[in-house]
Amino acid sequence: MEKYVTRMGDGFKVEMTEAEIQRDIENATQDASNRAKIPPLTEDEMRYLVELFKSPDNAVGVKRGNEVVLSYDSGTTKFKRANVSVSKIQSLQIYERMLGADTLELAHIDYSFKPVKPIVVFEQPILEQALLMTIPPLFYGAMPNLGLYSQPDGPCPNPADLLPKGKIAEARASYEEAVEHAVKDMVYVGSEMYESGADGINFDTAAAAGDAEFLATLKAIEILRKKYPKMCIMMGMAGEFILGMHGEVYYNNVRLAGLYPHKQLELAEKAGVTIFGPTTNIVTNRSLPWNIARAVNFAQACADQGHIPCHACMGMGVGGVPLTPSPPVDALARASKAMVELGRMDGL
């Protein structure tokens, strides 16, 4: 029986028969549909994915006319992480002129709002100078990263210490205090960068620390939206499911714990988000057909129900991209193509 080379969620190669690929895709869409209460992929869509994984081509791409815009997280830090000795502005110019970037993002190497707050006056001149020299829209991005507000890094008692002791009320109080600090920082940094001319602010990996962090991000966005009605606000999520670390936080009378992407999007729209980034986490011991089918299914629900553009998060370990520092082209290109053509995303 013929086998086709594909990969697992961790990026390692695996050979699968057509029947195995088909089975994984069917299981994945059933999983997504059951969890999020959304329609599963259609037979035609599943067939599309089977053919995609049977293709022997290394790099694949969308059909002509289906190209979308790409936005980025942590834009300027990628060069530093690769140990390429260029300045932030040079990084942006490389993205603009050599990597075909549709949008740009300036970021601090410690990519969270809390560490940016004390150095924002040093980030602003870089942004202002970059805006003079570049053409695509330029975001300033950072992560809400609520964990930084817990001791020893921050002022609040650490819920991770309190919860094992059964101090649930104290842990919740700590989360609520952290939310207030985080909102202040996000509004401050976002405001300063917008006043310096940024085209938009990117809130990356929102809700990484769970429902309290999602609340902080939504509250900050709500404030910024009122303050700057024309600001572009992009919010990329950390995961497909909001972890109930607090368990009892609400936004607009909706409990945040347990929300899947299409429900996260509803609240994002209410808060004033301009571009939403749905995220699906890779399961490393499942195949890529399984992971991509599932990610596409969640994304479709956002595209079909949402009123704002959606840019699927497709970095390492999300959106069907293998969890490995250097995702293979064959894997990433398939995820990219499927997310655009089946996921109906407005960007990635």
Binding site: A59, V62, V68, T103, D199, K230, M231, P309, D346, L348
Partner: protein, 106 residues
């Protein structure tokens, strides 16, 4: 990763009209098809051509809204964005602030 996504699915930024389509998503909340159609109409080209680097190189040169290659006297930064704001009929934050800074507007 950026390169792989760019080749698989990206519009190509200033190689084509990717930056312009992105601006329509950002300023007017347009979804991709609507944004591409809007940009095509403003540039007086077909929707199919908005992602064509050969067509767009000529369009960008003609409209002087920035190109990949560093051609002398072609707009390259803020000047390009002034023209983009005008052609698309949108407000660009840094352009508005620049105008206030240099006294072009109050």
């Amino acid at each position: 990763m950026a390169i792989s996504h760019g080749i698989a699915s990206g519009m190509g930024g200033i190689r084509t009209s990717g930056d312009l389509v992105a601006r329509m998503q950002m300023t007017r909340g347009m979804k991709i098809r609507e944004a591409k159609k809007f940009v095509a109409e403003k540039l007086k080209i077909s929707v199919a051509d908005v992602a064509d680097p050969v067509v767009m190189a000529e369009v960008r040169e003609e409209l002087d809204i920035g190109m990949v290659n560093a051609v002398p006297r072609v707009t390259k930064g803020m000047d390009a964005k002034f023209r983009i704001a005008d052609i698309l009929g949108i407000e660009i934050n840094c352009v508005s602030r620049f105008k206030r800074k240099v006294g072009l507007t109050a």
